[in-house]
Amino acid sequence: MKPKSEQELADVVKASAAKGTRLQIRGGGSRARLGHGVTGELLDITGLKGVSLYEPGALTIVTAAGTPLETIEKTLAKEGQRLPFEPMDHRALYGTNGKSTIGGVVAANISGPRRIQAGACRDSLIGVRFVDGEGTIIKNGGRVMKNVTGYDLVKLMAGSHGTLGVLTEVAFKVLPMPEAGATVIIEGLDNDKAGAAMSAALTAPYDVNGAAHLPATADTAARTYVRVEGFEGSVKYRSGKLKDLLAGFGDVSIEADRARSDKMWHQIRDAEAVAAGKGDIWRISVKPSDGPKLANLLGREAQIQFDWGGGLVWACVPESTNVRDVMNGIEGHATLIRSDDATAKQLGVFQPEPASLAKISAGLRSRFDPHGILNPGRMG
């Protein structure tokens, strides 16, 4: 089923609710493997597409949920703007080739390296329209960036993987595309020293918007990356200051070529260092200083990439390893991004919640999708 309008989509959901037909909600399918497998009738949202409003002077864009991410990025680029949260492209990691839709990005709250400075997808999302599990069209938030009118269901929808409603329209706060960008690179640090270097960069007054570390592998030496963006003079000034600041950690250089700098960050954004690995892939969010600790606990068998100054650990580990057991007291959440179905079933894709919160989550699900037809089981 591929509805062409919000109303058609609402009718489809309403009819499915009446019959108890389960729906598998799908955008471009580029991250269809993220989350537990869902059986049900395919509800393709790519029929809902197009940018309905874009005001560069107000830094806002409103678009149908099935619009390809690529279209939105191109539309923004024409006016020298971009989405602040740098959404990851999952195709290399999953070996998929669909076109990511903006609705899919929101449903999974996909963010990239800039998350530490510009916020996650949910932070830029200022409005949603969606269809709940009974076929009712619901609006929350709007098209202005400051809005505290009523409860913030916008945040609730971001990252709910379609289990609370089918997104039909999303609105974002966007940002200017900076005229320059540079990356400060430190060679040869171990995980602990890299963590300390990233922390030094992020606690300096230079507005760092990317801090990542790739540990040494059999073929490559370890490298730590710190990014600044902005006006040309400012980028030159801040990257120079950071180079001085980080000189004590190891060999420091500056990649001032924008294209080469951007390419490095695309690789980091898409977790290429682990995507090519053979085992299961986990994405773990922890306190930044716990990142290196966790990597040390995971041991030599794990391939690791650090982002978010150490707070985001990507790990490719031997199949069926339970990373949550390894965390043992380190607070945060671990998501099993890629594995076979049996492992996903056994360990659970998403971090189990404490009973008190699980009760709240289940309560929300039963109220927004009382018939259990929206991506049932997707989140476990």
């Binding site: 202005v144 960036m145 927004f368």
Partner: protein, 478 residues
């Protein structure tokens, strides 16, 4: 303002309810003498007052939990309170309610510069969060105008903003975790020193829920390193439209100032009489502030000045010293006080798409004539958050009502042009009955469902946010 009829059975049980609360709290933490509870009869929306049944001031999360458990068992409504600075009546009590205030809980629990967060009890004031970290050159970004007095608890409840949120975001963008007590008295931890939610973003729903989903007792907040410096430039224009176009051009050019503040002529004149900031007598004034090193500030201000000159400003005043910067901000910061000197006023808080500014200013002028009340405008221009101040005379019978009616018209106008009723103050009781102009019944039902999950008996701050008619059956079933 209609409020629910107090539950007679609760009023009759006052003595026994107070006695139960006294069993779980120190003596001085339970206030039930009407002479003493009077201090809690309103918040900063002083037009509405009501004495609560009693006030409790717990000293710990466990004490909050014990109080909530009792209130839940007794079926007593609870009104959470931070510092009582809400402009929307967010902590206005009802006669049958217990106020649970967190003001005694104001400790800093953990400061972690390497990981860039601070964990505080929520009775702590906004400014004193920055106060706890500024010796190390860090700050907490959200800066509501009431930051000297307002508590983090209230900031979280209302998702408060401030002048600098164009760059740094509002409370929800700077809140990493909470410890919260549910109406049933259960203590839950959501989020923490790591980023984002593992499953549903409950933190995002709790922030801005106006104390209706739980009482937040601890918060993990993002702290940031202070920029090397900051400097404002003052721009004056003969027409508001031109000032609005200048704001849009600055933003389109890729400059992202930390603040863009706008004042119109009535506001400029009033603040000049009061603060003598030396503002030019123009139709519209902008204060644009940028941050960074000296060279970065110059780079950004040069771009801003070039853009501004294309709009033929009547005044372009760049600060050359800390004193001049302070002078530029002086009038803006004094604006509300200045207006208070010459008149009573109500302060609105709608947001509009920036492109609609000229239209909205023109319509407000027409409404001002129609209702016979003056309006002064001061607002955050970068994000379209308006604060029209409608002046009235509290001693003149009927003037407040006229003023409120005009305020409602302005807020409806904000919604009509694509904006919203409240950008940073919250709905409270003040804008409760306007909610159906922005949302339809289905939209509100979806929000109300969330409260059903967190507060089954509808006891937490029950008469706020939603029109009473929308929630009547739920409140009465409780």
């Amino acid at each position: 303002m209609e409020m629910p009829v107090p539950d007679q059975s609760v009023l009759e049980r006052k003595a026994s309810i107070v006695a139960r609360l006294q069993l779980v709290l120190p003596e001085e933490a339970v206030i039930s003498d009407p002479n003493e509870t009077r201090a809690y009869e309103c918040d900063a929306l002083t037009a509405y007052r009501c004495q609560p049944l009693a006030v409790v001031l717990p000293g710990s999360t466990e004490e909050v939990a014990a109080c909530l458990k009792i209130c839940h068992e007794e079926g007593v409504p609870v009104v959470p309170r931070g510092a009582g600075t809400s402009l929307a009546g967010g902590s206005l009590p009802t006669a049958d309610s217990i106020i649970i205030g967190v003001s005694r809980m104001n400790a800093v629990l953990e400061t972690d510069y390497d990981n860039r967060f601070i964990r505080v009890e929520t009775g702590r004031t906004n400014l004193s969060v920055t106060g706890a970290v500024e010796e190390n050159e860090f700050f907490y970004a959200p800066d509501p105008s009431s930051q000297l007095a307002c508590a983090i608890a209230g900031n979280i409840a209302m998702n408060s903003g401030g002048a600098h949120c164009l760059k740094y975001g509002v409370t929800t963008n700077n809140l990493m975790g909470v410890k919260m007590v549910t109406m049933e008295g259960e203590i839950v931890d959501i989020g923490g020193a790591h980023l984002d939610a593992g499953v549903y973003d409950l933190l995002g729903v709790i922030c801005g829920s106006e104390g209706q989903l739980g009482i937040v007792t601890e918060a993990t907040l993002r702290i940031l390193r202070k920029p090397e410096g900051a400097r404002p430039v003052l721009l004056g224009f003969d027409r508001s439209e031109v000032a609005g176009a200048c704001v849009a051009d600055i933003i389109k050019a890729g400059v992202l100032p930390v603040a863009i503040e706008f004042m119109d002529r009535p506001c400029i004149r009033a603040t000049e009489d009061f603060a003598h900031a030396g503002y030019p007598d123009v139709e519209a004034l902008l204060i644009v502030e940028v941050e960074g090193s000296e060279a970065e500030i110059v780079e950004q201000l040069d771009k801003i000045k070039t853009i501004a000159r294309r709009h033929d400003p009547a005044e372009l005043r760049e600060s050359a010293s800390a004193e001049e910067s302070a002078a530029i901000w002086k009038g803006r910061k004094a604006a509300f006080g200045a207006m208070g000197q010459i008149n009573d006023y109500i302060c609105l808080d709608g947001t509009i798409p920036v492109s609609q500014l000229p239209l909205v200013l023109r319509r407000m002028e027409e409404l001002s004539k129609e209702y016979g009340l003056d309006v002064a405008n001061v607002f955050h221009a970068g994000d379209g958050n308006l604060h029209p101040l409608i002046l009235f005379d509290a001693n003149k019978p009927g003037d407040l009502e006229t003023c409120e009616a005009m305020g409602a018209e302005i807020l409806k106008l904000c919604v009509e042009v694509g904006g919203c009723l409240t950008g940073e103050h919250g709905v409270g009781v003040e804008k409760r009955d306007l909610m159906l102009t922005q949302y339809n019944e289905g939209d509100l039902e979806a929000q109300v469902r969330v409260k059903d999950v967190f507060d089954r008996k509808w006891l937490l701050n029950p008469a706020k946010v939603f029109p009473l008619i929308t929630t009547r059956t739920r409140r009465e079933a409780a």
